[in-house]
């Protein structure tokens, strides 16, 4: 037998640390964010916003503002409503969810401090702000509903009289006989957990430039957004335009975290005013406006119980969750989702049968809340893991051992949870084992003991989690939301042999474009540098849902893989026609057409592409090269493809000051096929940092009258690099069988588990001092209070 011809072997970028192609451009300051785009004749808008949390607008006088220098247009809620119809943030699958019609600019009543009551359009933003100061608004302040715990009391005013009460949504789960299980249990632990309202602070604030061309009745919106097709549908509907006459362009977006996937009244107003005036209108939320108008999240009060048998096996969970969502359910995804997720996810990693849950979602006169990174997960995980550690403590069981006894067995799938979630295949035990090894759990415990003798209080906290990723249409579509549950990828073979990829998923700085390029390059058989990815333009990219719910890699990536396979097959068919060989014996590797068996290079891809494009006359008459392909993918096997993971935090608590020093953080997670380890690890690290933010720093502080007290970056404490611990990341890999790629999401697991891990670590450190904290963020004052020092 002859020695094999040294030929090209198949290669893949899946699983490779490929640097993001856009990183260099963004670092060089050549990103194109909304504020970098300048249109001829554009005008700038500034909003007049209510200083009251709840007030009747008695009179609005725009005369002085209209006469101010540079002012082109001023409008009230009524003026803007001529161009923008109101909306109601409900979906049919959240039975009983109610909300009131919301206008782009308040009509007669402001319902939170920061709600827009008028808008000024001028030649410059400074002029618009000058004129906005001249708008005279006569308010009649109304009692504000701020405390969610009393929102349903008969004495509390009802925010929307037409709705009858302040209850937006309620949901219960009862697997039956739960009270009996608690009554007969060996151990019942219970606790109350409070979660501070916080928000996702994007480096680039919300930004919009809307341009309306009256001659074509065409609206073009440059928008910092995660879901441009969703927004196209919404602009069309509420501005009364054919959907095809709306183009939404989301080029570079400076962070989103779920903040930029909702309908914001001020953005709707800008689009409406552009239509009224027939000119481009620009608006960028300033930092004060971001804090009072970007969606908030996570204001929850949870009372929960856990029952175990004498061996420490979990028998039942009981959950009572109260959450305040502001005056409206946010459109179109609704503000019921977060509480709903808390109900769904509590107890998620564990094998138990009995579950009783009750959720109440109430209106208040605060900034509206909606989905923010890891929606509901940080609450559910903190409640679950807080109770788990408490139970382990009462049973004198090591927390890791307690988890080992209760995590769903790795061979027990598919599994349906007590709350009804369906898990395809998870790896809790493999992750736990790997984590304990990675962190040298025993060694760390020994160190902790040794230091405790010296009066140094260190704590170790574990937090197992599951994460909702790759959602099917059950997330939104079934409830009537026009939010695509699938995504497409179109690949175009250029005459050079390079490939242009257009994808429905979007990029906000997390590396979506790089991920898509890796998948396409691997599927087609070309260098990753030969793939150019285009995202975020509804006139250009395939219809799709965009990037949220950790779906970009799992769903957008799968569509890209399928398109890549198809394009490759078409290229091989073309090559077969050129080479007069059988396509089945050919392969495409490193941009070369090769003999599939030997790897022998037969034809450069560029040459095939050239012929396909410019010289089809040389090909057989019956053969038509197909050099542009599209494929779409929607995940239909499961309501969601769950991932799992476990985190650990190691902290030192200064018991004199209540300060917490984060010493180290570990996470082992299973997101199935990892396309780019670098990007996945950084997603997890960034997510952990954001979770730590909620645990230790971030809280939107309100006074009793509904005034937001800390709407600046000096007063609202985001997590910063100096306080972050080293984060060690490990993986277990269980690809989902719902797709060929096997990728699940990785965007939110870090955020989901970090607060619980930090909380458990603090409480572990405080355990010998009979102190315990369950109110996030764990400020020095709260820790000192728990210690009885203040």
């Amino acid at each position: 037998m002859n020695a094999p011809v040294p030929g090209l072997k198949p290669t893949t970028y899946i699983g490779q640390d490929v640097p993001r192609p856009n990183a260099k451009r963004l670092l060089a300051g050549r990103g194109q964010y909304v504020d970098d785009i300048r249109l001829p004749r554009e005008l700038h808008a500034a909003f007049v916003r209510s200083p009251h949390a709840h007030a009747k607008i008695v009179h609005l006088n725009l005369d002085a503002a209209r006469k101010a220098k540079g002012v082109f247009w001023c409008g009230s809620g009524v003026d803007v409503a001529r161009a923008v119809s109101p909306w109601v943030g409900v979906l049919t699958h959240f039975k009983g969810l109610k909300s009131a019609p919301q206008y782009a600019v308040a009509l007669e009543r402001a319902t939170w401090q920061g709600e827009a009551v008028a808008v000024v359009v001028a030649q410059t933003r400074a002029q618009a702000e000058d004129a906005a100061q001249l708008v005279e608004v006569d308010y009649d302040p109304l009692p504000a509903v701020t405390n969610m715990e009393t929102a349903l009391d008969p004495a509390t005013p009802v925010i929307h009289a037409d709705l009858g009460d302040n209850l937006a949504f309620t949901r219960g789960v009862d697997t039956g006989g739960v009270q009996d299980v608690f009554a007969g249990a060996h151990l019942v632990v219970e606790d109350t957990f409070r979660f501070g309202r916080h928000t996702g602070v994007c480096l680039e604030p919300r930004a919009i430039t809307a341009d309306f061309n009256p001659s074509e009745q065409q609206l073009t919106v440059y928008l910092g957004n995660q879901a441009p097709h969703m927004m196209r549908d919404i602009f069309a509907k509420h501005l009364d335009l054919p959907e095809s006459h709306v183009r939404v362009i989301s080029r570079d977006v400076g962070g989103s975290f779920g903040i930029k996937v909702h309908v914001y009244p001020d953005e709707m107003a800008i689009a409406g005013i552009a239509k009224l005036l027939g000119r481009p209108i620009r608006y960028l939320a300033d930092r004060l406006e971001s804090f009072s108008t970007d969606i908030h999240a996570r204001e929850h009060l949870v009372k929960a119980k856990l029952a175990t048998d004498k061996d420490g096996r979990i028998l039942a969970f009981e959950l009572d969750d109260l959450t305040g969502i502001g005056p409206y359910s946010v459109y179109p995804r609704t503000s019921a989702v977060e509480g709903n997720q808390v109900v769904n996810l509590t107890g998620g990693p564990y094998d138990f049968k009995h579950y009783l849950a009750n959720l109440k979602v109430v209106f208040q006169n605060k900034t509206p809340t909606c989905q923010y990174r890891a929606v509901g997960h940080p609450i559910a995980v903190a409640v679950t893991e807080g109770l788990v550690d408490l139970a382990a403590q009462k049973l004198r069981l090591d927390p890791a051992e307690f988890r080992r006894r209760n995590l769903i067995a790795d061979d027990n799938y598919p599994y349906t949870s007590a709350s009804g979630l369906k898990f395809e295949a998870l790896s809790h035990h493999a992750c736990l084992d790997k984590l304990l090894k990675l962190m040298d759990y025993k060694g760390l415990r020994a160190e902790q003991q040794a230091l405790r003798a010296k009066g140094i209080h260190r704590g170790i906290g574990l937090a197992a989690l599951i994460e909702v990723t790759n959602p099917s249409a059950l997330f939104y579509g079934v409830g009537g939301a026009r939010i695509s549950a699938q995504d497409g990828c179109t690949l175009r073979l250029e005459p050079t042999g390079w490939v242009t990829a257009l994808t429905g998923v979007t990029e906000q700085g997390q590396g979506t474009e790089g991920m898509i390029a890796q998948v396409v390059a691997s599927a087609v058989g070309i260098p990753v540098e030969h793939v150019r990815v285009i995202t975020g333009d509804t006139d250009v990219t395939p219809y799709g849902g965009g990037t949220w719910a950790s779906r970009a890699a799992g769903i957008g990536g799968e569509a890209a893989l399928m398109a890549g396979h198809t394009l490759k097959a078409n290229i091989l068919a073309l090559a077969a026609a050129i080479l007069t060989r059988d396509a089945a014996g050919l392969d495409l590797r490193a941009a070369q057409i090769v003999d599939a068996a030997t790897g022998e290079v037969l034809l450069p891809l560029a040459e095939a592409a050239r012929i396909g494009q410019y010289r089809p006359d040389t090909l057989p008459r019956a053969f038509q090269p197909e050099l542009t392909v599209s494929r779409q993918y929607g995940q239909r096997d499961w309501p969601f493809v769950f991932t799992n993971g476990i985190q650990a935090s190691y902290v030192e608590v200064d018991t004199d000051t209540g300060f917490v020093k984060l010493l180290k953080h570990w996470m082992v997670e299973d997101c199935g096929t990892i396309i780019n380890p670098l990007l996945v690890d950084e997603q997890l690290r960034g997510g952990i940092a954001q979770g730590i933010g909620g645990a230790l720093f971030e809280e939107c502080l309100y006074d009793d009258t509904g005034q937001l007290l800390n709407a600046t970056m000096a007063d609202y404490l985001v997590p910063m690099a100096a306080e972050m611990p080293d984060m060690v990341i490990g993986h277990v890999c269980t690809p989902t069988k719902s797709s060929e790629l096997g990728a699940k999401g990785a965007g939110e697991a870090g955020t989901a588990g970090a607060p619980a891990a930090v909380m458990n670590a603090i409480n572990d450190a405080l355990s010998t001092l009979s102190a315990r904290v369950t109110e996030q963020p764990f400020t020095p004052e709260r820790i000192l209070r728990a210690l009885g020092k203040v």
């Binding site: 400074a126 300033d286 004060l288 004199d656 000051t657 230790l696 404490l717 100096a722 020095p780 203040v790």
Partner: protein, 283 residues
């Protein structure tokens, strides 16, 4: 978040800056490093008619050692102080404190004089002026005058400076032999305004403390000398009992006011913890 319009002049001399201040009495603001003023303008919390930019007055940017004092020009940047060998040799607590002021980008522009003139109760430098018994030279068209820091701070953002005056230089008496000092602050994040912070200095002969000065910031409407605690420590060795007495005095000395995240009780508790830690560092 755009500033309302204002007139602007870059002063070419101290005399010109003073003349402008005089002309526009009450309606002009001095622009030095701009690290507090510019955000205040953009937030429309301050709406002056005129900004007098003194950033090019290099004669105000210096650190000079004389026979009796260290003189710091008002325009000296926080970063200049952080890096000054003279400051480090003579007043290591100032080097330490400079490194705790906000973040490097802010320290590169923000000035010591600006911080003192603004009299932000949470800032480090105003408290340092009290602890180190500094005096301040104020300039105006009417001439110059020198005031002790002790009588300079009047309340939240309030000082004894007249509307037509500006801060020219800061004078720090050279430390007497045996002087020990310590600085510390408690911040939730590096660079944040402190929940509480303090400078402590004392002369040590043998183990005995004398001339103890303790200045707190971030706890009240202005930086404060903790006079009760100072007296409680003077003549002692800074032993546990003396520290406990000094800590007890802080309730009356400071009478802390709440901030966004901390009640007066927490601020008092943390101030006491900080005081004990700083006194321990004097050893």
């Amino acid at each position: 978040m755009k500033a309302p319009s204002f007139a602007y002049e870059r002063a070419e001399s101290l005399a010109r800056a003073c003349a402008l201040l005089h002309q526009h009495a009450g309606n002009a603001r001095i622009l030095a490093g701009g690290q507090s003023l510019i955000p205040a303008l953009n937030l429309r919390l301050s709406q002056p008619d005129l900004l007098i930019d003194i950033s090019q007055l290099n004669e105000l940017r210096h650190i000079t050692v004389t026979a009796t004092e260290l003189v710091v020009g008002a325009l000296t940047r926080h970063a200049d102080i952080e890096r000054s060998a003279d400051v480090k040799r003579l007043f290591p607590v100032l080097t330490q404190a400079a490194a705790q002021i906000a973040h490097p980008a802010i320290r590169n522009r923000g000035t010591m004089g600006g911080s003192i003139a603004l009299a932000d109760p949470a800032a480090e430098w105003p408290a340092a002026t009290l602890a180190l018994d500094m005096s301040l030279t104020l300039a105006s068209e009417r001439g110059e005058r020198r005031v002790p820091a002790d009588s300079f701070f009047k309340g939240i953002y309030e000082t004894g400076m007249a509307q037509d005056e500006m801060l020219k230089s800061i004078h720090i008496p050279l430390p007497a032999a045996g002087t020990r000092s310590a600085f510390g602050e408690l911040t939730r994040r590096s660079g944040d305004y402190a929940i509480t912070g303090a400078f402590v200095t004392a002369r040590k002969s043998g183990a005995t403390l004398s001339a103890t000065r303790i200045a707190f910031f971030g706890v009240a409407g202005q930086p404060l000398l903790a006079r009760g605690a100072m007296a409680a420590l003077d003549g002692t060795t800074g032993d546990a009992a003396a520290v406990a007495r000094a800590q007890a005095c802080l309730a009356a000395d400071l009478d802390p006011i709440a901030d966004l995240y901390n009640t007066p009780a927490t601020k008092l508790h943390l101030s006491r913890v900080l005081l004990a830690r700083l006194v321990a560092q004097l050893a």
